[in-house]
């Protein structure tokens, strides 16, 4: 892997963590109020990877949007470092090349086109996308698109990444490759990570800690520390045991 000049230096600070305290959030809809979150609490230390699992509709996406400042809680407090979202689908701009998509966060801040390209180009190479700089999203595979999407969010240069089921749309094999890839990237580019998933194995393999949420209204029902060395093997008995522990917390028998 080629060592690229890092244009967005980031040393994680002491206040780059996440603190969500007893947060509630209710949406008014035509069919009455929907309680997305009720007394949800969650903490992440700077540089920690916290994975959040829960049944569908448990307010996981709401949680990420609160952390990103896209919504405000009805009650409770959200204190966290500046966060950037990585949406569930890659949402690459079809009219832009991989290079321009990767540099979107820079363009959003008002950086000029040439400067944004110069900054993003070495990163594409580092992310195994050399030769695809000028390819449009339609010409990229699902895994490549997800890597461009991740890079786009990474280049926002914020200490906290909020990943919303980042690999859910990928096929099973690509998903496993992308999980390993993410851990590799985060080892050289430390960030505090909040990763929402419905894949229990993914939560255990990626997370330093797994937060298990209840069904709607969502709140944390269990917190499972994963103190296993990386890289983690999915067949490792310790991983399998933790997986069963998470499933039990979800109320599903393994």
């Amino acid at each position: 892997m080629i060592e690229a000049p890092v244009k967005e230096p980031r040393e994680l600070q002491g206040d780059d963590g996440v603190s969500v305290e007893l947060v509630s959030r209710t949406f008014r809809t035509r069919r009455g109020p929907v309680h997305a979150l009720a007394s949800m609490s969650l903490r992440a230390r700077p540089g920690e990877i916290v994975t959040v699992v829960g049944p569908s509709g448990c307010g996981k996406t709401t949680l990420l949007e609160l952390v990103c400042g896209l919504q405000l809680p009805d009650s409770g407090t959200v204190r966290c470092a500046p966060a950037v979202l990585m949406p569930q689908r890659d949402l690459l701009l079809p009219w832009c090349t991989a290079l321009d998509n990767a540099g979107l966060a820079l363009r959003a801040r008002g950086v000029g086109r040439a400067q944004a390209r110069a900054t993003a180009a070495p990163w594409l190479e580092r992310f195994g996308l050399a030769g695809f700089e000028h390819a449009r999203p339609a010409e990229l595979s699902g895994g490549m698109r997800q890597r461009v999407s991740f890079l786009r969010s990474l280049l926002a240069g914020k200490p906290l990444l909020a990943l919303d089921e980042p690999f859910a749309a990928l096929d099973a094999i690509t998903r496993l490759q992308m999980q390993d890839w993410l851990i590799e990237v985060l080892a050289s580019e430390p960030r505090t990570v909040l990763l929402v998933t419905h894949d229990v194995e993914e939560a255990v393999v990626l997370g330093d800690r797994v937060v298990v949420m209840s069904g709607r209204p969502g709140h944390a029902v269990a917190e499972i520390e994963v103190s296993l060395a990386r890289p983690r093997r999915r067949g490792d008995p310790a991983v399998v045991a933790l997986r069963e522990q998470v499933l039990a917390a979800l109320g599903v028998s393994a």
Binding site: E65, C68, G69, L70, A83, V84, L85, P87, Q88, R89, L91, L93, P94, W95, L104, A105, R107, A108, R109, G110, A135, R136, A138, E139, L140, S141, G142, G143, M144, S153, A156, K158, A162, T174
Partner: protein
Amino acid sequence: MRRGLSGWPWRAAALLVALVALWELYVDLGGADPLILPAPHEVARSLWVDRSLLGSNFLVTAEEVLLGILLASVTGLAFSAAIHFSPTLRRAVYPLLVASQTLPIPIVAPVLVLWLGFGILPKLVVIALVSFFSIVVTTLAGFAAVDPDLIKLMRTFDAPRQRTFRHIELPAALPSLFTGAKIAVTVAVIGAVFAEQAGASSGLGYLFEQSIPQLLTARAYAAVVILSAFAISLFALLSLAERWALPWAYQREQAAAP
């Protein structure tokens, strides 16, 4: 990628030839008075014999239509953006915009001529009035179709609203703008005819209006043929321009190396 470019005109051309043949037979067999419905060969002869007259009047109408479409596209895009940014403006203006489409152009056109004179200006206003609507409606739909998650993403990038518009919403709506313009060119030609009939000294609509009372029906039909051909050419030209300017809009997902 090339779908649609090679095949389509032949079937349409064959159908057209068949219809023209039927028309020719109908007139030749005495189905209609040639002064009221000239046979296609009479129209063709007029296209040739009156070519310099038709040509000079065509240039006048073509200028009106092209400038009118340009005016409608620019104002339509600006108007759509304004409505998109301001829900208040949308609620206030959108119903009036719909109402403007119910105005009978044959009645409005003479009023505009009285008001704006006999120059090109009232023609441009009439053409813009009839073509503006489809451009605004399709462009607004294009803005609205942008994925809300993309807007949220730009917010976490700390992008100011207008930069999100420039980088995301505006390019995303361009195919819709083209769609609106393609619908607009066909009605713009009709608008041009009404505007010229309301008060003009040249143009194909004017020539049509002059030819009927002189019982030069073949020439009137020739003018109509040129107007149709012009509208079809503009439509085809816009389609080509769209493919050239926005190739990504035609690029479907292809399998690529993983």
